[in-house]
């Protein structure tokens, strides 16, 4: 066995996109910890600043740089790591490792690939090699063909026959794949799949739709000891991407012989691949023939039937889920194996008395439900198939499937979507095809007395699950029909019905149900996730609630504080808030206070067993939070305080509840939060403070809305009060649009609608910390896009590049005044707009929004300024003033670096969603470009967010009338950079008028070729600038096809001239960029180790 390396490079997974989310922050963070435990120097690179792994003190050296071969080579040359750990950064990490090896870079610098070999990666990822290997092993694979051209695709269809599954090679989350039942579908999906695959290769495969889908998480060490950590069964059978499936652990419908048949297969495969570390094997198992017919030739009593579907030779989303489902730290152990440790040499950190060489035994049931973004994108295609669409997921644990499932539903935090939810348009036969709403449709079908066998046959969901859902419905019927007594309530709670659902069914308020529970002594107990089904005494305080007899989580002694987490990753509430929650737990521990964490997201660092002193894996709703706080209070004891300002809107929303239940809050009070969110109270305070905001008001009727809009003048910004991620926010240009907006708002019963003057100026935001006396502003960020683009979708620059001293001073002054007046204790985020006109009465700085909580820029600003914002805020909440912590009021001295935060989108995966940037947030993740100059930082941000355009790239321009004047300098710049221009009718006229050569392309799709879609699809153009008027929720007909085509062809599509300008600026000044640890940019060369 080779020596343990002394230094290791770990590649992170980059921005959060659909198919690659927070699970890799969890994996990378564990890997860094594991390296530290082993005394190995860790060097980390990731482009995503919102991660815990890129935080100070996790790795020994941290680079926040774009994930490209060039950047990685420069890091390797600078740091000279002995080993490279590529298996913890998702597909991104794996692909980069292969690229580095292929480019000869690993060899040149003598870097050893750890945990897996290039051969293994290629064996697992290349369909043909993988199939050959499995055939050699005697493992069954579905019949399939590798296809690289349309001619081959035709031949494959002829040979295997429809239906066929199309899977592109080397893509994230199955991007570009699908199931084809018809020739038309086949052509469309194969074409898109070939385009999506970086090696222009797709697998065309015999359809196993409806078969049971089962996954095994497998580990192997260099001594060839192999174990499985966990198996998982998908409720949604084959045909739905596993990332979009409801998943149960352990498997529920597999007999012992089936369980071990598939386990044997998984072990055989990891051995053959020679992986040292973790691996994920997906298999399809024969379903019940009365639900899904078996293929020809398997009639009667067949041999046990299964197929191997896929192998991921790395830590994956499923392994994060398996880690949280079992308590077994897969990433940590995989990292240790990769540097040469044997499984039996690694401690089981849960029991601390056994080793990592064992298989966890569960004595509970785990249910995962994906979190889809269709609440944000109501016009997106909700059909689920082989292409993943979920942005995140929730997990819940209980002693029965029904209870775990219902807790998971509560954890989703989709407004109004309780277990009882039904679509208003569902008639007698709710649609049972695979969509994000299917779970509720299954319940609805059962409620309508559809025979259970039929529900099963139509959905292909195994009858075991359907019958479990039927038990929930049966309980609903009892609750509707019977008087609620102690026995019925106990049964309902044991089956997992929430107080709210029980209340709805029995015509009671949730609070009344709670009171009955109190009266009848029905409280949940908390049981430990201990990896061993109670066989050994375990040391890890990881708990779930259940209605059983014995409580294993009595309150710990001493002062404790609860940090309420942020739930599933969704658009508008991403990994940034998990970063804050984790930081908060660490800060509490550092201050000698016990940190209790509550969260429902299995992908995150916050739900890692050693992040807090006690972890409650629970839904983040009123019932669960109050229950666990009561548990923490003991009998008649005092409740620990709760921190609500780090977990995004999820946690902030708990403030009122906690306050109402007389449960104490640490930090800004419920009233301070209400003050900032209540339009009337907020306006009163601002005018008292003489802090200007754009004219506007809150209205409840259309009449008032029109009067208000006319008084302040169009365009106006309209939105419901209480929003995060800009949901349902629009820029409205005239009265007609206002009428339309109001009609929709009334339908959704949004209540108060806010109408503000829309200022077409620069947006600026700050994060601040306040202790009641001192207000510290670590940094100001200036947005590249003008107001109107959601701040989460804007590129943000630190420090600001275009502010006058007077504006800067005003921003600091207003922030301080507001923080003190709002009685903020902890963090606050303020968004400003700088008026585009000269304002005679002042600096032209207006407040748009104040949030007395952590924002999504907290990790970014913390990292670039070095101010540990969350820690300072937590200490403030614990009673230590900023002054005591060594900080004074005002703006923290600016660093000599420039950092640009850029959003990253997952639009290619969301068919039917319009991609233009507007007031509604659409991005799923972010990257950071940091350097010594603005140009270099922007350039890196563009590279890292995949918006890089090379000089000479042909552009397609289609500009709205409003933006044409603004676009003139851009057009000249493109021309000078040697970019051939193509333009739609009106824009072409404009360009030609400037004397710049341009080719006209029609945007009318049925009037001749080439049209806009043609030039995008056939690769004539390599980038698009497309601006639109206004901003609204439904797809805008104008330019929709342009934007979708560009997205599907994965070429940059700029819908804001500001973004395009920045991209083109960096294009015309190619210049060089630095590659340095973040600490060196920030603190100078002395910081380098």
């Amino acid at each position: 066995m080779p020596d343990k390396p002394s230094s290791v490079l770990i590649i992170g997974s980059g921005p959060i996109v659909i198919g690659q989310a927070a699970e890799f922050d969890y994996a990378g963070t564990q890997a860094c910890k594991a390296m530290r435990e082993e005394g190995i120097r860790s060097i980390l690179v990731n482009s995503n600043p919102a991660t815990i792994m890129t935080d100070e003190g996790v790795a020994d050296v941290t680079y926040i740089e774009p994930l490209t071969v060039e950047v990685l080579e420069r890091i390797i040359a600078r740091e000279r790591p002995e080993g490279l750990l590529p298996t913890l950064g998702g597909q991104t990490g794996l692909n980069l490792a292969v690229d580095l090896a292929d480019a000869g870079i690993l060899e040149r610098y003598g870097v050893r690939l750890l945990g897996t070999s290039v051969r293994t990666i290629k064996l697992a990822e290349d369909r043909q090699l993988f199939r050959d290997l499995l055939r050699e092993l005697g493992e069954p694979v579905p019949d399939s063909d590798i296809v690289e051209t349309w001619e081959q695709a035709v031949a494959a269809r002829r040979r295997i026959g429809l239906p066929l599954v199309i899977r592109p090679a080397y893509t994230l989350g199955g991007t570009g794949g699908g199931v084809a039942n018809t020739d038309e579908e086949y052509e469309r999906i194969v074409t898109a799949g070939l385009a999506a695959s970086p090696i222009h290769q797709v697998l065309v495969e015999q359809s196993l739709i409806g078969w049971k889908e089962v996954e095994y998480e497998v580990m192997r060490d260099a001594n060839d000891t192999c174990i499985t950590i966990c198996n998982m069964e998908n409720l949604d059978p084959m045909g739905v991407h596993t990332g979009d499936s409801i998943v149960v652990a352990p498997s529920q419908t597999l007999s012992d012989s089936e369980y071990h048949m598939l386990r044997n297969s998984s072990l055989k495969i990891i051995r053959a691949l020679g992986i040292e570390g973790g691996c994920n094997v997906q298999l399809a198992l024969a379903p019940r023939p009365d639900v899904v017919a078996w293929p020809e030739g398997t009639e009667g009593e067949p041999e046990l039937q299964y197929y191997v579907i896929e192998v991921n030779p790395r830590v994956s989303r499923s392994s994060a889920l398996a880690s949280k489902a079992t308590g077994y730290p897969i990433a940590r152990v995989a990292a240790k194996i990769a540097i040469g440790k044997r499984l039996d040499e690694i401690e089981n950190s849960v029991t601390r008395r056994t080793s990592a060489a064992f298989e966890p035994a569960l004595d509970y049931c785990v249910v995962k439900i994906p979190r889809w973004p269709f609440d944000k994108f109501p016009f997106g295609d909700r059909t689920l198939g082989t292409q993943m669409k979920a942005t995140g997921e929730v997990m819940a644990i209980d002693r029965t499937f029904e209870a775990a499932l219902q807790k998971a539903i509560r954890s989703l935090e989709v407004s109004g979507r309780s277990v009882l939810w039904e679509h208003a348009e569902w008639g007698d036969e709710p649609p049972l095809d695979a969509t994000d709403e299917r779970l509720w449709a299954l319940l609805a079908a059962i409620r309508r007395n559809m025979p259970l066998e039929e529900v099963s046959r139509r959905s292909r969901v195994d009858p075991w699950f359907i019958e479990r859902l039927a038990r929930i419905v049966a309980m609903e019927r009892r609750l509707l029909a019977e008087d609620l007594g102690p026995a019925l309530l106990r049964d309902a709670k044991r089956l997992g019905l929430s107080d709210a659902a029980i209340g709805t069914l029995g015509d009671r308020l949730p609070e009344q149900v709670r009171a009955l529970r109190e009266e009848w002594g029905l409280r949940p107990v908390y049981k430990m996730v201990d990896t061993c089904a109670a066989e050994f005494d375990a040391a890890t305080p990881y708990f779930y609630s259940t209605y059983e007899d014995e409580n294993e989580a009595p309150p710990a002694p001493g002062e404790r504080v609860l940090v309420i987490g942020s739930g599933p990753i969704r658009i508008g509430q991403g990994i940034e808030f998990d970063y804050c929650s984790v930081q908060a737990a660490h800060a509490l521990q550092e201050a000698g206070v016990g940190a209790i964490l509550a969260n429902s997201n299995p992908e995150t660092v916050s739900t890692d067993f050693d992040t807090s002193d006690r972890l409650y894996f629970e839904p983040l709703d009123e019932e669960s939070i109050r229950d666990l706080l009561e548990n923490e209070s003991g009998d008649g004891g005092e409740s620990p305080r709760s921190i609500v300002q780090f977990g995004g809107q999820t946690a902030v929303n708990m403030a009122r509840t906690l306050h109402g239940s007389a449960l104490p809050i640490a930090g800004s009070s419920a009233d301070a939060i209400d003050l900032a969110e209540d339009r009337g109270r907020f306006e009163a305070i601002l005018s008292e403070l003489e802090v200007p905001q754009p004219p506007g008001t809150g209205v409840t009727s259309l009449e008032d809305a029109i009067t208000t809009a006319e008084a302040i003048g169009y365009p106006v910004l309209v939105r419901p009060s209480y929003v995060l991620g800009g949901r349902a926010m629009e820029v409205v240009q005239d009265a007609n649009e206002l009428v339309r907006y109001f009609a929709a708002a009334l339908e959704e019963r949004t209540g108060v609608v806010l109408i503000d003057k829309y200022l077409d100026g620069r947006e600026v935001e700050v994060d601040a910390i306040c202790d009641g006396e001192t207000v510290l502003i670590p940094g100001i960020m200036e947005h590249i896009e003008r107001a109107g683009v959601h701040s989460g979708d804007s590129m943000a620059v630190y420090p600001p590049q275009n502010l006058s001293n007077a504006q800067r001073a005003a921003i600091v002054d207003y922030t301080q005044r507001m923080a003190l007046a709002l009685k903020v204790r902890g963090l606050m985020n303020v968004q400003f707009v700088i008026s585009p006109q000269d304002e005679p009465d002042g600096p032209g700085v207006f407040v748009i929004e104040v949030n007395p909580r952590s924002s999504r820029t907290v990790p970014f600003i913390s990292k670039v300024t070095g101010v540990p914002m969350v820690k300072l805020a937590v200490n403030v909440m614990l009673g230590r003033s900023l002054r005591e912590q060594g900080y004074a009021s005002g703006l923290w001295p600016e660093r000599s670096l420039v950092a640009v935060k850029a959003p990253v989108f997952s639009m290619a995966k969301l068919v039917g969603v319009d991609t233009y940037l507007g007031p509604e947030m659409k991005s799923t993740g972010e990257v950071m470009g940091v350097d010594r100059t603005f140009e270099a930082a922007v350039r890196k941000a563009m590279i890292a967010s995949d918006l890089r355009v090379a000089a000479g790239t042909p552009f397609l321009l289609s500009l709205s009338n409003q933006t044409k004047a603004d676009a003139l300098p851009l057009i000249y710049a493109l021309h000078e950079a040697g970019c051939p221009l193509y333009a739609t009718e009106g824009t072409a006229q404009l360009v030609a008028g400037l004397g710049v050569p341009v080719e006209l392309v029609t945007k009318r799709l049925n009037e001749g070729h080439p049209n806009v879609v043609d030039v995008i699809r056939d690769g004539t153009v390599g980038a698009v600038i497309n601006t639109i008027e206004g901003g609204r929720s439904e797809p805008l007909r104008d330019g929709f096809h342009i934007r979708r085509s560009a997205t599907e062809m994965r070429i940059p599509c700029f819908t804001s001239l500001d973004t395009a300008r920045a991209a083109i600026q960096s294009l015309s000044n190619p210049g060089s960029y630095e590659v340095l640890p973040i600490s060196v940019y920030r603190d100078g060369d002395g910081a380098a180790k």
Partner: protein, 384 residues
């Protein structure tokens, strides 16, 4: 009383039942299985699948089995999964027993299956609490009842014999010798080699042991635990397997004697109770574990290769390795608590394992030991 719901929302109030432990602890739940009282040693198994195999494993004779995985009966039961001729446990304890199994091979619900077998059970109790109790207090006698108060049941329980004194092997072993025919359709017999003859001394054998030997081309004869070495050798076996079984190995002097008469004359493999018998033969004492090893996730390290295997285990007694003869070495140990998991004779073709390489239920990682045994058997020819 906990209501039990069927799919149409109909209520089947299941009668209440109690599990009363000899130490006075009482668990109240609902009755499943047969309507009889039953007493046994209360043990727990952490395997998440394989309830039917476990219920019919003779090694559970005299015991009330608790499954720690809370949802049992999911895939039903069928005739061909039984590991012996009957349900062996004295009682079955679960958090939830489903009436709604789903599997294409399902023939009867687990509840029906237990009823037919005349074995009672209890559902709806906090099995994790019970498991924690057993883990900290050690296994204990218990009784299942529907019609007595806890005090009455406890008084009755105290009058019943202790697990440890009973010779359960006598209850489970075959009465007369028989040749094992595979009961499964399409089962192969061997891989083209001429058959070898293996005698299995039935101390409570599981069918899968005999199936795996058949698969490897062996003709298998099961013999009663009382058969002497001379009589066994009369059968001219190519090898002898001492099977697993229930109870205290200290009660099996006659089997130790039999083993003594076999070793040196024919290759011997011992599994579980068979392993303990061989351990005694080579000078070791045996002792009772606090709460035993029962599950499908037990890591065992091969002392020679350092490799770890995940094994299925079901034993309450273990071999003390301290006083073993010099001729025998401890070949494998349990990773969690250092228990002796395997013995190998330095000169004779004898090896034993404490765990169940035949799986069923459990992982098949160590099935290769049957290959090893059969290879040894083939290389030696019939006993002289």
């Amino acid at each position: 009383m906990t209501q039990h719901l069927d799919l149409l929302g109909r209520e089947h109030p299941r009668p209440p039942a109690r599990l009363v432990l000899a130490d006075g602890r009482v668990f109240e739940g609902t009755a499943v299985g047969a309507d009889v009282r039953s007493t046994g040693e209360v043990v727990f198994n952490t395997s998440m699948t394989g309830y039917q195999e476990a219920l019919t494993d003779p090694s559970y004779r005299g015991q009330i089995l608790t499954m720690t995985y809370p949802i049992q009966g999911n895939y039903g039961t069928n005739a061909f999964t039984d590991e012996s001729r009957e349900v062996q446990v004295r009682g079955f304890v679960v958090r939830e027993l489903t009436d709604l199994p789903s599997h294409w091979q399902n023939e009867a619900t687990l509840d029906e299956y237990l009823k037919r077998a005349g074995v009672p059970g209890i559902a709806g109790i906090d099995t994790r609490s019970l498991t924690r109790h057993l883990r900290s207090q050690g296994v204990v006698m218990g009784t299942l009842t529907r019609d007595e108060t806890a005090a009455e049941a406890l008084a009755r329980l105290r009058g019943e014999p202790e697990y440890q004194g009973i010779d359960y092997v006598a209850q489970v072993s075959t009465v007369s010798s028989y040749d094992f025919e595979d009961d499964r359709q399409g089962a192969s017999n061997g891989r083209g080699e001429p058959p070898a003859h293996v005698v299995v001394v039935d101390l409570g054998v599981k069918r899968n042991i005999m199936r795996l030997l058949r698969e490897r081309g062996c003709e298998v004869t099961a013999v009663p635990h009382t058969m002497s070495a001379e009589d066994i050798l009369q059968l001219r076996p190519d090898g002898v397997l001492l099977s697993p079984g229930p109870g205290d190995p200290m009660l099996l002097d006659h089997v130790v004697t039999t083993a003594r008469g076999l070793i040196g004359k024919t290759p011997v493999m011992g599994i579980c109770l068979g392993h303990q018998v061989v351990g005694r033969l080579f000078g070791a004492s045996t002792y009772k574990l606090k709460f035993g090893h029962r599950g499908a996730n037990h890591p065992v390290r091969d002392e020679q290769t350092g490799k770890v295997y995940i094994t299925a285990q079901n034993h309450g007694f273990a071999v003390d390795g301290d006083r073993l003869d010099a001729g025998v070495e401890v070949s494998q140990v349990h990773l969690n608590d250092g228990t002796v998991e395997g013995l190998t004779h330095r000169s004779e073709p004898v090896f034993t394992i404490q765990y169940h390489s035949e799986a069923s239920p459990g992982p098949n990682d160590t099935e290769f030991l049957f290959d090893r045994f059969v290879a040894t058997v083939r290389s030696r020819g019939p006993a002289q």
